[in-house]
């Protein structure tokens, strides 16, 4: 791998582009308008073509104006068709953007003599070529896109910072925003304008589908990691920069492992952003798949432990000798084994030649559980008019979520009975362990 100034500029441009997209993209994700990013990035094509045909130049300003106009038009048309035609939002978006894209394609093909723009550039972008198009700023020679994208990034950042509160309220609760005197409609179309402008600025560099990647994936990743909008915006910027750096690295190294030369950075960048998303999807602390699985596992383990204790207590009650190992609990065998060894390690049960028995501490814990269970049965039968032989299953679930305080209240509400509806003794309340 050889790194040059060229590579540095590629990464800088990609990062600028990613950050600009991610800033507006956060709000698209929050407002469930992700596909609007896709729609607008396709639909601006006729705006670009019109700008070219009218001015016969590739100057940036007409392009941005054309794109902004068509971008807002896309949002407006989608909304009109949804409202007046009563068409599902996705479908109305699909109708609008495919039609506009087709119109743009025809304009480009028909005006091909006048227009120096091909559809390839719009679809794929040309990050590598963009670096070669240089300009001079303060005596420094820098690639043109750095200037363009830097400006767009600044505009987006200014928008997000200045209207942070307004954007937040209208993103989470448009009705509240309206009652507070914030015009949610104006915020919506301002956002759409910025989406269009950002899409156009990023086109040349990464192509229109990958614009969607940079708009949505960082925002979605951040959404999985945090609950706060402020940190979501910051995290999304981090993800955008990371995918730019890793994307370019992947583009120049990964194909080499299979004996190929390098590949297109923009594509690798989107794929890398997707990979980051998948990793976060797995390991995110609260939303992640793994943490949710672990959480569920811990919960079932706790229930198995408590059921074990309860059943041991019931066996003692029936004056049987220490029961068969282990007392029946409806759970996978490995989980029961794990529960038994955890209980033994904590000194709640003791194992003697193949039998398990409650220790004194274990007996206290189990009696509290049984007390909860039988108080619930009493409560359900007395106060909820559940038939006594139907109370067991419900009580079986409730016993695991009943803490001491709740049990005390339950005891008061049921007038502290000594027998449950089945005539079994309710163990007394133990003083809290110190």
């Amino acid at each position: 791998m050889s790194w040059s100034v060229f590579d540095t500029w590629v990464v800088v441009i990609a990062a600028l582009c990613g950050c600009a997209c991610a800033l507006v993209g956060n709000y698209l994700v929050l407002r469930r308008l992700s596909m609007m990013g896709d729609a607008i990035s396709h639909a601006v094509l006729p705006g670009l073509a019109a700008a070219f045909l009218l001015t016969h130049s590739r100057a940036s300003l007409p392009m941005f104006i054309g794109a902004a106009v068509v971008g807002v038009l896309t949002a407006l048309l989608t909304e009109w068709i949804r409202r007046f035609g009563k068409v599902d939002e996705g479908a109305s978006m699909g109708v609008v953007f495919t039609a506009l894209f087709a119109l743009g394609l025809i304009m480009i093909v028909r005006g091909a003599d006048a227009v120096d723009l091909d559809a390839d550039c719009v679809l794929y972008g040309a990050l590598e070529l963009a670096v070669l198009d240089t300009t001079t700023l303060f005596g420094m020679t820098i690639p043109q896109p750095v200037l363009t994208l830097g400006t767009v990034l600044l505009i987006n950042a200014a928008f997000v910072v200045l209207f942070f509160k307004e954007l937040r309220i209208s993103a989470f609760d448009p009705e509240l925003a309206t009652t507070l005197g914030i015009n949610a409609g104006v915020m919506h179309y301002l956002l759409m304008t910025l989406v269009a402008i950002t899409a156009v600025a990023s086109f040349e560099v990464i192509g229109n589908i990958l614009v969607v990647a940079m708009m949505i994936v960082p925002g979605a990743t951040a959404y999985l990691l945090t609950e706060r909008l402020r940190s979501m915006v910051l995290v999304s910027l981090g993800v955008a920069i990371a995918s730019a750096v890793l994307g370019h690295l992947a583009a120049i190294t990964v194909p080499g492992w299979f004996g190929f030369p390098d590949t297109i950075t923009a594509g690798a960048m989107a794929a890398m952003a997707g990979l980051i998303f998948l990793v976060v999807l797995l390991v995110a602390p609260r939303q992640g798949v793994l943490s949710q699985m672990a959480h569920r596992l811990m919960l079932s383990l706790r229930i198995v432990r408590e059921d074990l204790l309860g059943n041991l207590y019931r066996q003692e009650e029936q004056a049987a000798a220490a029961g068969a190992y282990p007392p029946h609990v409806d759970a996978p065998r490995w989980m029961v084994r794990l529960a038994v060894s955890r209980l033994a390690a904590e000194g709640l049960i003791q194992r003697t030649n193949g039998h398990v028995a409650l220790t004194d501490r274990g007996r206290v814990a189990a009696s509290e559980l049984l007390r909860s269970h039988r108080l619930w049965e009493t409560f359900l039968a007395d106060q909820m008019s559940v038939r006594p032989d139907h109370t067991h299953r419900t009580a079986e679930r409730l016993e695991h979520v009943t803490d001491r305080e709740m049990r005390l209240r339950l005891g008061q509400d049921t007038q502290a009975p000594r027998l449950d509806p089945q005539g079994k003794a309710i163990p007394p309340e133990h003083p809290p362990a110190t």
Binding site: V87, V95, I106, A119, L210, I216, T263, I264, A270, A273
Partner: protein, 474 residues
């Protein structure tokens, strides 16, 4: 049995179309004018015939399955799916080159596309199921991530030394004008398979589209049906992709179905219309592109379909804008008429209408004006209209009389109004001074059955009797 017959007919029609497309290219010498326009329109040229028929078949297939997708609220899934096929195509190409082939074997490429498309759909469902991210975000993530991966892989493919990658980009842009007979045949087969499955499982798919929860409760294998639907969409998308390109296939899946929805409330008719609209757009679009130089077929087909959508949106009789507007106007007119008649009746009842020389009570327009907050202009317009309908007679001196028909109608309206007021007072426990507004809104929509029920409920003894007003008439 009926179902079987329909299927047979569909198969026969579609396959005869294929047979004809493949038929000899001999030009009938007795044919009419030999202008380019005529030649295209009658499908005289072999190339045009293949393209037009292929695209028409694709329109039919996409329109049919698109209808179900629209109702399932998954219109944009086709978008994500189409983009998600790209990495599969590139990987299939690389694998086939590695295996020693040229990498351009079509079934292999299509297989790759199907696999990665289905993987994309699976991932969308997974992201939605596992996280709090919503459907739109899941679609966007999968769409862009897969496409990005595809672009990166295509970049590798294009720089590969072995095998020529030329032609792979047709999967993105399509090559409508250069469609081969084999492509058209493949599309036609897909169209036949999709139509047959949709006909065979019409009832099941209908239930799934309208009420998946109920379908599940009824014990239908909704997951299997959903997967079948996805598989059909994937099939149509993949086959259409290499023939007409990404954007066109997305458009054909969405636009005809959305347009057909404006015309009917019946699913059967809607699917038929959607298929026809898709087919016709394909046919007209392909013909235009054959006639006009430098006119990309895919784009023009989308525009034709979009034009069909715009027309449908305004003119569609079931949900079209115009039809809904007309229905609203009719309702408004009915309401205005009933308001006027009731106001007139109440004026007569309270003795504000002296009897004229004709023996009928005469109502002054000035009194009517005070009954309701209507502008003089709209009231006069209303009076003129009712005069034409012979419910009232407009007399000189700014007075009106109710005709016999007008009197009957007025009594009915007042009766409905007061029955509802009584109902509100006795059964809904609304204060008598507050019932007027509520009854004012409901009186126009009380049907005969409803009135009969109210009568039973309020134990009105005589049918003709008009109850006394429970509040002061303003």
């Amino acid at each position: 049995m009926k179902r079987l017959c329909t299927i047979l007919i569909a198969v026969v029609v579609l396959s005869s179309g294929i047979a004809w497309a493949q038929g000899s290219t001999t030009v009938d010498a007795t044919a009419a004018p030999d202008s380019a326009f005529w030649r295209v329109l009658t499908l005289r040229d072999y190339n045009t015939r293949v393209v037009v028929l292929g695209v028409t078949m694709l329109g039919i297939a996409a329109g049919t399955i698109g209808g179900f997708m629209l109702l399932r609220k998954r219109a944009l899934l086709g978008d994500a799916l189409a983009h998600a096929t790209l990495p599969g195509i590139a990987i299939a190409f690389m694998v086939m080159v590695a295996a020693g082939g040229t990498g351009k074997w079509l079934p292999g490429l299509l297989m790759g596309a199907v696999i990665s498309g289905l993987a994309g759909v699976g991932m969308i469902l997974l992201i939605q199921g596992l996280t709090r991210l919503k459907e739109d975000t899941a679609l966007g993530i999968v769409l862009s991530m897969f496409f990005g991966l595809g672009v990166a892989l295509m970049g590798i493919v294009q720089r590969m030394s072995a095998g020529s990658a030329a032609g792979l980009e047709t999967f993105i842009y399509g090559k409508t004008a250069a469609m081969l007979a084999s492509d058209a045949k493949l599309i036609a087969c897909t169209a036949v398979v999709v139509s047959v499955i949709c006909l065979l499982l019409f009832k099941e798919l209908r239930l799934l589209s309208f009420d998946p929860a109920f379908a599940r409760a009824q014990g239908w294998p909704t997951l299997g049906l959903d997967l079948l639907m996805m598989a059909m969409v994937t099939g149509v998308t993949v086959v259409g992709l290499q023939a007409v390109g990404l954007i066109l296939i997305i458009a054909l899946l969405i636009i005809p179905a959305a347009a057909a929805r404006f015309w009917t409330h019946r699913l059967r008719t809607m699917l038929l219309l959607s298929a026809v609209l898709g087919g016709v757009s394909g046919w007209i679009g392909a013909s235009i592109s054959a006639l006009v130089p430098r006119m990309p077929a895919g784009a023009i087909i989308v525009l034709v379909a979009a034009a069909g959508f715009v027309v449908s949106m305004f003119a569609g009789p079931a949900r079209g804008v115009l039809a809904r507007w007309i229905r609203l106007q009719q309702l408004n007119r009915l309401v205005a008429r009933q308001h006027l008649l009731r106001a007139a009746y109440e004026l007569i009842e309270t003795g504000h209408a002296p009897t004229g020389p004709s023996g009928r009570p005469r109502i002054r327009i000035a009194d009517l004006m005070a009954m309701r907050s209507w502008s003089r202009w709209s009231l006069m317009r209303l009076i003129h209209r009712l005069d034409r309908q012979e419910l009232i007679t407009l007399l000189p001196g700014e007075v009106i009389e109710l005709t016999d028909a007008g009197m009957i109608e007025a009594r009915r309206v007042v009766r409905d109004h007061r029955l509802w007021e009584l109902y509100l007072i006795t059964h809904a426990e609304v204060a008598p001074s507050h019932v007027d507004r509520g009854a004012d809104m409901i009186e126009h929509v009380l049907g005969n059955e409803m009135v009969a029920k109210l009568e039973r409920l309020l134990e009105q003894e005589r049918q003709e009797q008009i109850p006394q007003t429970p509040h002061v008439i303003r």
